[in-house]
């Protein structure tokens, strides 16, 4: 369950050594945009040392690597794969071939280091117009794909759209990413809210993302983590309603009723499925037995 994914600049020792106290469900150790070209080597060294040395939960580690069309991508993969982070985040992923090339490269390193093939999962960052249009194909291109992650800043730049807080310009991209992810039964991660100091704006943006079907959201600021976690955590009212739905449907089945209603409203299959899914999330978060 990845509700909040916090970006940690790969060249910041202070942030790296404290990444695990900031409350995020996962931390994205960034070797890409947060690091200037001159510092790529140093950041790679720092991130690999941090993963080796510090007591991180590897299930929470995502390493964002440089795009395939740069020389840094292969070097990143060589350095990171032997450390077996749970996830690698390829960037500027636009088509199936990108994933296939990266997967193959990862596989070679896994074989070389005698690691279980396929253990490391991918969360491709979809941030080009071509990538959005190919989202389903990318999502279904490899068993390694665990989630799709929308990157709105590069996307809107690619589309020459004006980026705004309300996010109307990415409405289509958001829906496309969520639909592709759901079609492949993987998670959908929303783009970060980039105004670090607008907490209310962040909460509203996270609420919109959840309402569209995203399962989590990235954060560029630790101050956003709590708001994201809250937005993607079922409320007690939602949990109570879901429990009531399941109880009602179970009771109806026992009594052999064909149709069951709750509070005067008919409970049909989608409502039951939604309730089960919500209770499953609540269980993962320790909110439900």
């Amino acid at each position: 369950m990845l509700r909040s994914l916090l970006f940690i600049p790969g060249n910041s020792p202070a942030m790296l050594q404290n990444a695990d106290v900031l409350g995020a469900d996962a931390y994205i150790f960034d070797l890409e945009d947060a690091v200037s070209p001159k510092e790529k080597d140093a950041a790679r060294l720092l991130v690999t040392s941090a993963i080796k040395t510090l007591d991180f939960d590897k299930n929470k580690i995502i390493v964002r690597i440089n795009p395939l069309n740069t020389g840094d991508c292969a070097v990143d993969i060589q350095a990171i794969v032997p450390l077996e982070p749970a996830f690698i985040m390829p960037t500027k992923v636009s088509r199936t071939e990108d994933i296939l090339k990266i997967s193959e490269h990862i596989k070679l390193i896994e074989e070389k280091h005698k690691l279980d093939i396929g253990t490391i999962k991918l969360i491709p960052l979809i941030e080009t117009a071509e990538g959005i249009e190919n989202a389903y194909h990318i999502a279904s291109s490899s068993e390694r794909i665990a989630a799709l992650f929308l990157g709105a800043e590069d996307l809107t730049s690619d589309m020459q759209a004006i980026r705004s807080k309300h996010g109307n310009e990415i409405a289509y991209a958001r829906s496309r990413i969520v639909t592709a992810a759901k079609a492949c039964s993987i998670e959908a991660i929303d783009t970060p809210f980039t105004d670090a100091h607008d907490y209310d704006g962040l909460v509203e943006d996270a609420r919109i993302a959840r309402s569209l079907g995203f399962t989590g959201k990235a954060a560029i600021s630790p101050q956003h983590v709590e708001g994201i976690n809250e937005a993607f955590t079922p409320t007690s009212e939602e949990i109570n309603y879901a429990r009531n739905v399941i109880e009602a449907i179970e009771e109806g089945e026992m009594l052999g009723k064909g149709a069951v209603s709750l509070g005067g409203k008919m409970i049909d299959r989608p409502i039951v499925l939604r309730a089960r899914k919500l209770l499953s999330i609540a269980r993962q978060l320790g909110m439900e037995k």
Binding site: A14, Q17, G23, Q223
Partner: protein
């Protein structure tokens, strides 16, 4: 009667200042102070030697003292806090005899008990009238409270007010009363406003400090002390001030109305006063312009003297009614002793100020600090200097958990069901050393360059010169 003198030089001459005497200054103009340097230049040019400086605090702007020490004008210093170039020079052994460090409560007690005798007090005043009624809230160099200057004005043999803004007589309200003042000197400027107070004191955005502050606020929440009538003091920096932000939302959630906020006052506490979270503020020093304007305008924002703030010789003092204080630390050891006097290399970088006073008197003293800064661990085997003894510290709050002093079993029992991240201080130390390793203990000379005196007049530690 005319108390106005044309210049500082004449006030020095008329005060009768002689070799070997003690002169005092306050630190309300902080790192923007011009007065100490102006006075010392005149004293030096008059050929007076071998003086004791009795200053409530010294900052980097007072670096000219180094030359006065070298030339024999100054032979001894007593203060509550010291930073910058003068602190560095002292650390390297520039003075023959040790500096005496006191606390903000210990200084007025030492003055009252005559263990400290001030011959002449040179008191900067942002506003004064011709008879010496003075305050800090008016004038172009306004600093707000003059709390630390008041004991000097009550006990020094001669009191000279140095101001850059004269008001018509009588100036009201008066922090320093004309009945105590001998002379008044008007100068062009007593300080640089940029160094006196900050415009606004902002809450840190550092995520680690915020995490620590959140833990500290939750510790207060479950301590049993957060109820109507609650009283609180915190510093203006880093995680300390950020605690106020979280505390405010908890007070709102629990509908708690506090009695008073204490100490150095920031705009954040002023906002809490105005929004009804506290009934009053007791202010010994203003940290920002909002606090300066509030102390002038709001009758519930009250100036108090250092004596009223924390002197152990007062029949009662504000700190003795304090529930919770949140403090910082540069070093701690597993006995909860705190060092706020020196940095990791042994150089003096601060002093107790009100640290040890509030820790001793409050019902709950909380240290907030990150486990390491750069590569230096907070928790060491033995602090280089005991500024505040561990027996007066109740809890250490870090980004990786809260250590409660084992002598506070009552607190441990109170919070046991609160789901706070409680962890023994030894474990925090071990955890930190996994990141930083164990630094080599630095080698210091055998020359004692400063003695730390607790507020009851007892020397509790000695700071040695760096080599």
């Amino acid at each position: 009667m005319n108390k106005i003198l044309p210049n500082i030089r004449e006030s020095i001459v008329k005060s009768g200042l002689k070799d070997g005497m003690t002169i005092s200054f306050h630190h309300h103009l902080r790192n923007g102070d011009y007065v100490l340097n102006m006075v010392m230049r005149e004293i030096a040019s008059l050929g007076i030697k071998n003086l004791t400086i009795q200053a409530s605090a010294l900052f980097d702007c007072h670096f000219e003292l180094i030359e006065h020490i070298k030339s024999g004008v100054v032979s001894h210093i007593e203060t509550n806090y010291m930073s910058g170039r003068i602190a560095n020079a002292i650390s390297h052994g520039i003075l023959k005899d040790p500096v005496v460090f006191r606390s903000h409560g210990g200084r007025p007690a030492a003055i009252k008990s005559r263990r400290v005798h001030i011959d002449v007090a040179f008191l900067a005043a942002p506003a004064s009238d011709k008879m010496g009624n003075s305050n800090g809230s008016l004038g172009k160099s306004a600093c707000g409270s003059l709390g630390y200057a008041i004991p000097d004005s009550e006990y020094a043999d001669k009191i000279i007010i140095i101001t850059d803004t004269l008001f018509p007589y009588p100036l009201f309200p008066a922090s320093i009363k004309e009945s105590n003042v001998d002379f008044v000197v008007k100068v062009d400027a007593i300080g640089n406003p940029e160094g006196i107070v900050s415009g606004t004191t902002r809450i840190t955005r550092d995520p680690i400090s915020l995490k620590i502050a959140e833990y500290a606020a939750n510790l207060i929440k479950y301590s049993g002390l957060l109820k109507d009538g609650f009283s609180f003091q915190t510093g203006a920096g880093g995680a300390s001030l950020a605690v106020t932000k979280y505390l405010k939302s908890i007070m709102k959630e629990l509908d708690v109305k506090g009695s008073f906020g204490l100490g150095g006052i920031t705009g954040y506490l002023v906002d809490m006063l105005n929004e009804g979270y506290f009934e009053a503020l007791q202010d010994v020093q203003c940290f920002d312009l909002l606090a300066v304007s509030s102390i002038m305008d709001n009758p519930r924002h009250v100036e108090i003297s250092a004596t009223e703030y924390a002197s152990p010789l007062s029949k009662s003092r504000a700190t003795s009614s304090l529930d919770v204080v949140v403090l910082g630390a540069t070093q701690m050891d597993t006995d909860f002793n705190v060092n706020v006097h020196t940095d990791s290399s042994g150089i003096i970088t601060g002093g107790s100020g009100g640290h040890s006073d509030t820790a001793e008197d409050s019902k709950l003293s909380i240290i907030v600090a990150p486990l390491f800064r750069a590569r230096l661990p907070l928790i060491v085997d033995k602090v280089q200097c005991i500024s505040t003894p561990g027996k007066h510290i109740d809890a250490l709050v870090t980004q990786r958990g809260i250590a409660i002093n084992p002598i506070r079993q009552d607190l441990i029992d109170t919070i046991k069901d609160a789901k706070l991240p409680i962890i023994p201080i030894e474990e925090l130390k071990n955890l930190t050393e996994k990141y930083t390793g164990v630094p080599d203990r630095i080698t210091l000379s055998k020359k004692c360059i400063a003695e730390v005196e607790n507020r009851h007049g007892k020397i509790i530690d000695c700071i040695f010169a760096v080599e």
